[in-house]
Each structure stands twice: as C-alpha cells, then as structure tokens.
C-alpha cells in the first residue's frame, strides 16, 4: 500500500488552515487537510452536516469575509480534504512527518506522510472548576455555540451564562435569536475593571469600532429582549443531583442566590490547542491570563521544529480574522521554503497580511485585557471541587499529594501520584488548574514548573484503528 507523500499536511480546516491551503495549492504544492468535522469551517463557521440545509446560516455581517474564504477553500482544485478524521499524533520521520489519522467512526486508521506540517488546530474553552461544574447541563460556551451555529439547535430550555469573555454577548444574542431563554448573563468582572481594560487599550478600541459596535448592538438587543445582564457577579456553584436545576449566583466569597435553570454556560476564555506541536518538541509559552500553552512562531509562522508551521489560535488566541491572516502567511512561507516562490515575492505577498495582522492583534490584546479571568477563576473551587473531571481528582487530593517525603514538584510527577491528567481528555481539561495550584504552593511560575509531558495520542482512538494503520 503506497500512499503519496504530500508537500504539506494541514491539521485543522478553520480560517487559518483554509487560507494556508489556498496559498500552498496556488503555488502548485500537493496539500492534504485533516479535520474532525465532516466539512471545513472550524468552530467559527461550524457548518451543518452535508445532509442538512440551514436557512440564513450565520448571516451576521461579521461572518461575511470568513464565509468568502471558506467558499474559496472548498472550491480549491487538488486539495485533498480528509473530514471526520482525528490526527491522533504526529511523528518525525526522515523525510518529514507521519500523521496517524483515525476516522472518527472507528474505521481503520492510516498513516499520512507529508514533508511539511501546518498545525492550525484552533482553541478550546478554558475549563473553570467550581462546585457542581461536572453536573450534566453545565456546558462550555463553545459547545453551546456549536449547536446553535451548525443546526440552529438550542441545547436546553433556560440558560444562565457566566464568565468574563465578551463572546458571551454574541452567544446570548444567538441563543435568544434561535428561540432560547437566557435567565441571566453574568460578567464576573466589575464595570470598573472593564473600563480600566478599555482605557488601557483606548487606541485599539478606537481603531476597532466595528466589532465593538456589534457587541454594543448585541447588548442592546438582549436588554430589549429582557435578558438580565449583570457585572461583578458570576455562577458560584451549580446545583442539582443528577442534572442542573439551578445556578447559585453572586459575588465570590458570598452565599449568593439560586436562579432556576437547566443549563449553565461558562465562558472565561479560550486556550490554544498546542498538543501536537508540543508533542513534536516545539517551544510553547505559558499564557499568563488564561493559562495554557501558545506555540511559539517566527515571523513566517514557523515553529522551532524543522518543517513545522503553526497558525491561528494554536499560536495564541486572537480570533478568526487574525487566524486567517496567520494562515495566509504560513501558506506563503511554505511555498517559499519549498522553493516555489523566492524570498522577495514571499515578502511582497506577506506584507498586506502582516499589516492586517498587526491591526487585529491590537484588538485581541484589548479583548484579552477585558476578559482577564484571573481575579475570579481561582476563587471558585472549594477543597471538595473536582479539578480533574476524567479521573475525579479533587483540589484537596491534589494539595495532599503535594506534601510528604515523595512530594512531587512538577506537573507530570503530580499526575503520576494523583491520576489528575491521566484520563480521556489527556489533561487538556485540568492542566492549567493543576499548574496554577502547584505554582501557588511552590512559588515557582507555571512556565518554570512545566506542564504534563505531551503524549501520543492527542485524541482517544480505538486500539483496533491504530493497530490496523498500514505500513509505509
């Protein structure tokens, strides 16, 4: 069985992957793109299944440029798209990379070989442990949005949304438009903190009037629809025995009041998906505000492993428009490094994307400052609160394990002792919380402590699917 060796493999069919594919295919390179969804789009443009048509799908103004990019990428001649496929891991080979690609329907996996690799794997919702957060009915903002965006499906009756990220405004607006009820929309930060963050990035605020105006419009629509929006309060605990029946809402440290609901959506921010680059040994930096690891890239979106490129949220969460520009630059860089265009042409082609990227990063910095979850998120978990939900490890168990003669001083050692991070999610869910806890105890920063050792596979995959991966 002889599979081709592609010039470029792209992990992730979001804006960054699409833009890179357009550049690389345009330069005459053979390109394969892999994505867990059936269709391209990423989380920002989560498409309905092929079998389904959704009337006026994502027709808000903010999605238009991204939808044009998606249409161009889907029409690219010669781009091999492997949908419904997880990249379980990537291994270095003499000629480049071997991707272990496993279909999400448990069919046999295959080995996909490529000379160069672009990881544009996006981001995931920051998990914030608080009492009751593992009850069925507690969802991440991203999960709720995936339902609403792709199929106009409102996954619940009565929502309480809480967090620090402004995306909550858009989500609540979309929920209400799709027929859902938002019982409360809570921003954990005080109005003063928001004003302070805005003042610190006043220039960016002025230069990015459009997205701010869109947020203001969402705010106004929600108020008109009677959605209570409050600042300085958040969900302190989720109540219910087998599922969510209420959210306890108030100021951290106080008892709060119960609001009846069947869904709680948490939206404290987003973490880069950096496990593939990290598993290859690429350098990643700790993200101070949210935690998590952002893959380090040079001005051409190259990681510090030969042949590896990274673009979009994998390099630090900055939003879909910025991801698109990074993907474009990465695609130009691949064409240049493969000898298809010369340095001067690459420089000219990258100039405009870079200018736009610099502009967009200003807005991302403003969003980061407004959404800063640090003042709140570490005050929500009690001793009995589960931190690692795959293995049911509580904060108290982690603290107890960090004492004694064999006291672990790094995250991997603590994982060995407690099982935190050893479960199905591979530690994505608890790594940031475990590192914050260790940092608090040892006084050493998370970056110096170091995260869980990245391991194959980055997604759970059936034993038989991997056992059946063919030879070279």
């Amino acid at each position: 069985m002889s599979e081709p060796c592609y010039d470029l493999a792209i992990v992730g069919g979001g804006p960054a992957g699409q833009a890179a594919a357009e550049q690389a295919v345009g330069a005459g390179l053979s390109v394969v793109m892999l994505d867990e969804q059936a269709r391209m789009g990423g989380q920002i443009l989560r498409q309905p299944p092929y079998e389904m048509t959704v009337a006026s799908w994502l027709d808000a103004r903010g999605y238009r440029a991204l939808k044009r990019q998606l249409a161009r990428a889907e029409a690219l001649p010669g781009l091999t798209f492997l949908g419904r496929t997880s990249v379980a891991g990537v291994l270095r080979e003499a000629a480049g990379f071997a991707l272990i690609a496993v279909p999400t329907d448990s069919a046999p996996g295959r080995r996909v070989a490529a000379r160069r690799l672009l990881v544009a794997a996006g981001c995931y919702d920051l998990p914030v442990p608080l009492p009751g957060w593992t009850l069925p009915g507690v969802m991440s903002a991203g999960a709720i949005q995936a339902f609403v965006k792709s199929q106009r499906l409102v996954p619940g009756e009565r929502f309480v949304l809480a967090g620090t990220h402004p995306l909550q405004l858009i989500l609540a607006d979309q929920l209400v438009a799709a027929g859902g009820t938002v019982a409360a929309l809570l921003f954990a930060q005080t109005p003063g903190a928001v004003a302070h963050a805005l003042a610190g990035h006043a220039g960016a605020a002025l230069r990015h009037a459009a997205p701010l105006a869109a947020a203001a419009a969402s705010y106004a629509r929600l108020r008109r629809a009677g959605v209570p929006i409050q600042f300085g309060r958040t969900v302190l605990a989720v109540e219910g025995r087998d599922e969510v029946v209420a959210a306890r809402v108030g100021v951290p440290g106080e008892a709060g009041e119960a609001i009846a609901c069947d869904r709680v959506g948490l939206c404290y921010g987003f973490l880069p998906q950096a496990d593939l680059p990290r598993s290859l040994g690429a350098t990643a930096r700790w993200v101070e505000r949210t935690g998590g690891w952002a893959t380090v890239a040079d001005a051409w979106q190259r990681g510090d492993v030969p042949g590896l490129y990274v673009a979009g949220e994998t390099t630090g969460v900055a939003g879909a428009p910025a991801a698109l520009e990074e993907g474009r630059i990465a695609g130009i860089a691949v064409a240049r490094d493969a000898g298809r265009i010369d340095a001067a042409a690459a420089g000219r082609a990258a100039a405009e994307p870079r200018r736009r990227l610099a502009h967009l990063r200003g807005f991302a910095a403003l969003l980061d400052a407004v959404a800063d979850p640090r003042a709140v998120m570490t005050r929500l978990a009690g001793d009995d609160t589960i931190v690692c939900r795959c293995e049911d490890v509580t904060r108290a168990q982690l603290l107890a394990a960090a004492e004694g003669v064999a006291a672990p001083s790094d995250a991997s050692a603590l994982k060995l002792v407690t099982r935190a991070g050893m479960g199905l999610c591979q530690g994505r869910g608890c790594e940031a919380a475990v590192l914050r806890l260790l940092a608090e105890r040892t006084g050493v920063g998370p970056e110096a402590i170091g995260g869980f050792t990245p391991r194959f596979p980055v997604r759970p995959v059936p034993i038989a699917s991997v056992g059946e991966v063919g030879g070279r």
């Binding site: 199905l424 034993i463 038989a464 056992g467």
Partner: protein
Amino acid sequence: MDAADVLIIGGGLIGCAAAWHLARAGTDVLLIERGELNAGASGQNAGSLHFQIERRFLEHGEALADQAARTVALSRLAVSEWRDLPAALGDDRLDVAMHGGLMVAQSDDELRLLERKAALEARWGLPTRLIDGAEARAIAPYLADDVRAASFLADEGHANPRLVTRALAEAAASAGARFAPQTVLRALVPVSGGWRVTLRRGAADVEVAAASVLIAAGAWTMAVGALAGVHLPVFPIGLQMNVTERVAPFLPHLVQHVGRRLSMKQAHDGNVLIGGGWPSRLARGEDGFDLARAPTVLVDSLTGNLAVAAATVPRVGALNLIRTWTGVVAITADQLPLAGAVPGRPGLFVIAGGSGFTLGPTLARAVSAEMLGRSAGDAAEAMALVAPARFAHLNAMLA
C-alpha cells in the same frame, strides 16, 4: 561533612526498598535522587508481576534459556515477596493483584516454544501448567478463538508502579531514612573505611562520608559506576507502552504471548495496560544516548503492539487508546540482573538490570541483607547467579 552509614544512589523502587530494609535494621541511610522519586523505569513500567520465563530469553538459543531458567528460584522468592508486601508496608494502596497469568500460543511454532518453556520451568520447580485452548478460554473467556494453548501460573499478576515506590519511600522515611531528591552525584571516591561522596544540591557542592554505597540508578548505572572507577555493564533500552480508557473489570489475569511481544493486564483503576517489550527510540546526544530526554514513540512499535493485543484479546480492539508513553529500562549483557557486592571495591554494591519491578523488592531485600553482613537465606544460591562477580573480567585491568 555530612555522614551516613549507607548512601543509596537512586530514588526508584529498588533504592526506596533498600532504604526501607536498611533503615529498619537501624542503619543511618541517606538516599539521593537527581530528579523526582519514582521518575525513571520504576514509575514508567507497566507493573507486571511476571514469573514465567520471558519470551526474550527463549528467542536467543538454548544457552540463554537455560541460564534464565536457573533464576526461577528468584521468581519463586519474588512471589512470596509480593504476596507479603501490602501487609508488610501496612498499606493496601499498592493495587497488588495476583490472580494468575497466561502466556498464550497461537501457531504451531509458538506451541512448540511454549512446551519447551514449560519443560524448563518444570525442571527448575516453577509450577506452570500447560493447558489447551479450550481450558485457557475456560479460565480466560476473553481470549481469541485461535489461541491454541497457554501456560498458566497462578501467582502472576500486577501492581501499581505509581504507588509502590512512594509507599516504600514513606515506610523508609518512617524508619528514619533521609531523602534528598533533586540532588546530583558529582564524585564517588574510595577512602579508608568507606566512600567520600560529593553531591550537588542547587548551586552548592556538599561532601558526605558513607561507610557503604548502593548504586540503584537504573539506566544511569554505568555512568555512576564510572564515577567509582568500575564497569557496571548495564545498557539503556527505550521501551513504549500503551493504556486504554477505564472500563469495567473483565481481564483479571496477566496475559503474555510466547511468540509475539505482548504483556497485558487491567489495572485496578480499570485501564488496560498494553506493552511487552516494544522499542521506542532513545534520544541521541553528542556522546551517545541522551538519557535526560524521553525516548520517542515508534510508529511500527505502536501499531504492532496494538495489533497483537487486539488479535489476542479481541475485546481490547474496541477500547480507546488514551496514552502511549516511553520509558528507559536497563539490561545487562546477559539479560540477568546485576545485584550484590562489586568485586575489588569494598563497600560498593549495585542492583540493576532486567525485570526490575517484579524482582526489585526481592533483590533489594537480599542485597540489603548482604550489606548488613547477614545471610541471604533462601536467596543465597539465586543471588550468586546474579552477582557482579560474573563481570569481574571487565574490571580486572582497571585501577
């Protein structure tokens, strides 16, 4: 200058077990470890308690197989050691399970190999029972239909490598042993009445006088031996292992394969652990292998190991793989353990090489007795087989 009766180099299972035995005997023990306790092979291995003659001894001719068979006595001692360990440590958290183990054969050639192995074991007194496929499936209904035969040993099983070393360390500390993790060995010099040891903690060097020294440094044994001016021929090997998601108990035994590399068991927490000696790639540095960096996963080992697992226990094929990890073990040139006094270096002892989890507690007990000047008792004859004296020729010309 600090002082100790015994300095133990290495905070793995063997070092911590020896610290426990020696401290309980009233010895002043200082254990040093360059990183975290249990961070090497002791915590990385998959926790098999295997006592049947291993496949690796059968595939290199009669001489090696015969030699391995003679260490069956050690395996018999290890069975009692593991049976007693939970109670002795006053600790039921080691997840020791000894519900039997099967080594299976699927082809004609494998069946012949299994018969040869069973004959060797019978000669040296290991109560392995050769059974046909139907009887194997009666004991282990999860086995594939094409399993032709198996050798069954009632004492085999597994324990939890994440917990055992920590429990031993805590017991040793309770008995008065001192632990110095994050401490690097810089020099090991013989002096009158013992050894002078230079250690680095943080930025400072400290000197320690020790009457005797035990090297329990796993893959680093050769490097530590060089500091003491001796060849300790122990070689690093990179292995890789796999673990599935947690599922309800269905696999109470240790399952091995006589013809293909496979070792599989279901841990106390419900995960199925799959290994069996599949290689990973050791990191390479400028001067040879770089043990400071983790070995990398090899695709062929990954797919090969999981394919054998699913072919032997079909049900495993449907489980999700959640982690593949690599680790470094150390083996000697003749694949037998290296344990006992180092000839020509009074007060220097070593334990390393081969089946370190299964045999580690037994070897640590026996060498601790030797260091205390006590008889090794039942273990004496077996310990002679694994004594460093067999490699004395390597050191005959070293000053």
